[in-house]
Symmetry: C2
Subunit: 215 residues, 2 copies
DNA sequence: ACGGAGAGTGAGCAAGCGCTTAGGCCCCGT
DNA sequence: ACGGGGCCTAAGCGCTTGCTCACTCTCCGT
């Protein structure tokens, strides 16, 4: 279905393409540790031992603990942005594109809830320069969602009084999935994605189509 | 308007009634520090110096740093629960009560966004026993919102396929306000509360009344 | 055969952490 | 007048933290 074989939203861990192997294990270990305890409560010894190596080995592949977080945060934010941009640029009515954006964005946050939790809730621990970089990606994500909503308003198929505020609300809804979603829980990523796509279409007052965004 | 003079949702800091004065200053300092940097990145020296005292003085009023977080988390969660319970138990249609709950819940999270950020996002740092206690309050909050939605569904004025999932979504929306709200930002707590009440009424498919929950 | 790069280790340093101790000041009931 | 509790500080203890250092092992091109 896709000309590019590179995986940007599949079920596997988003770190499959990192080399050497030890570096990949370190990132994966860091993601799990950061997600469980938070960045500041995680020690470099903890990360190293999860990756099956000595504390010193971490510094062969990454200069600092913060650089590990930066890698995770940067790649994660870019993946998330790609997802909404793909929906924004796809063909279809604004409702279809908005539903698609929400559905895949939510699904990503649910499937990769460990990574997503770090990406969405640990960015405050980044160094100032890295933080600014990541904030720029977040603004782009916000802009992508907003432009879909604006398209719907202009086309007269959405009824939104406060586009900016509603965009924030839509993103809130999606992002917060990373906080509460749990693999052992009641619903699957697909189910949550479908539910949320429907809720968002209602929020923007979409009319002239079914709730799932398909006319 | 209220027989009870005690403030449970006003604009002042929610810590006005703590005595002695030094203990109140410590809690307030801890709230600001935890909100800015997170629990684990905050040092007891930082809290003490913000409160204008020596590091050792903290331990006269609180046994540990974690106990400070526990006080903040417990009181904050109880305040939040009180707000939605009041809306649940008030008179009015389900739509009015749901709009009321969301409006005041969101307003609280926006007005007290510093406190709310600690309450909503730092509870993972609590000791196991305290954590369990706080989780129980959160479940009660979820139950209160869900019961309003269930009332609306039973009365035939809400159109909700997945009550549990929709409740989670509504709470997500409200809670996430604490993450992004900023006093210097574009909108006031009142504006966000009104906007979000309207969005939630749409999410539950409320009909037979205006969007603001008033028939 | 072998030198050098890459990848890893055990030991440990300086700094900072949560928290304790010993002691001092001030106010108040008797 | 004065003993005692409440409140506070300076100093510092024991420990953990992020990170470094000196060194070893393995692999590969020449």
């Amino acid at each position: 279905m896709d000309a590019e074989p590179k995986n940007t939203g599949g079920k596997a861990e988003p770190w499959g393409d990192i080399t050497p192997d030890a570096a990949r294990r370190l990132v994966s270990a860091a993601v799990h540790a950061f997600a469980e305890r938070g960045y500041h409560a995680t020690t470099t010894r903890d990360i190293a031992s999860r990756a099956g190596m000595s504390p010193a080995a971490l510094y062969i592949h990454y200069k600092t603990k913060e650089e590990l977080l930066y890698q995770i945060s940067k790649v994660g934010h870019e993946r998330a942005l790609t997802i909404v941009e793909r929906a924004r640029d796809s063909e279809g009515t604004p409702a279809e594109r908005l539903a698609d954006a929400v559905r895949s964005f939510v699904r990503w946050h649910a499937e990769h809830h460990t990574t997503a939790r770090v990406v969405q809730y640990e960015l405050g621990a980044l160094a100032e320069e890295h933080h600014a970089e990541v904030i720029a990606v977040r603004k782009a994500t916000d802009g992508a969602v907003r432009s879909i909503i604006e398209d719907g308003v202009k086309a007269g198929v959405f009824d939104v009084a406060d586009v900016r505020g509603t965009t924030v609300a839509v993103l809130s809804l999606c992002i917060d999935v990373a906080r509460w979603f749990n693999t052992a829980g009641r619903s699957t990523p697909d189910e949550v994605g479908d539910l949320y796509a429907g809720l968002v279409l209602r929020m923007v007052g979409a009319h002239g189509e079914h709730q799932d965004g398909r006319p």
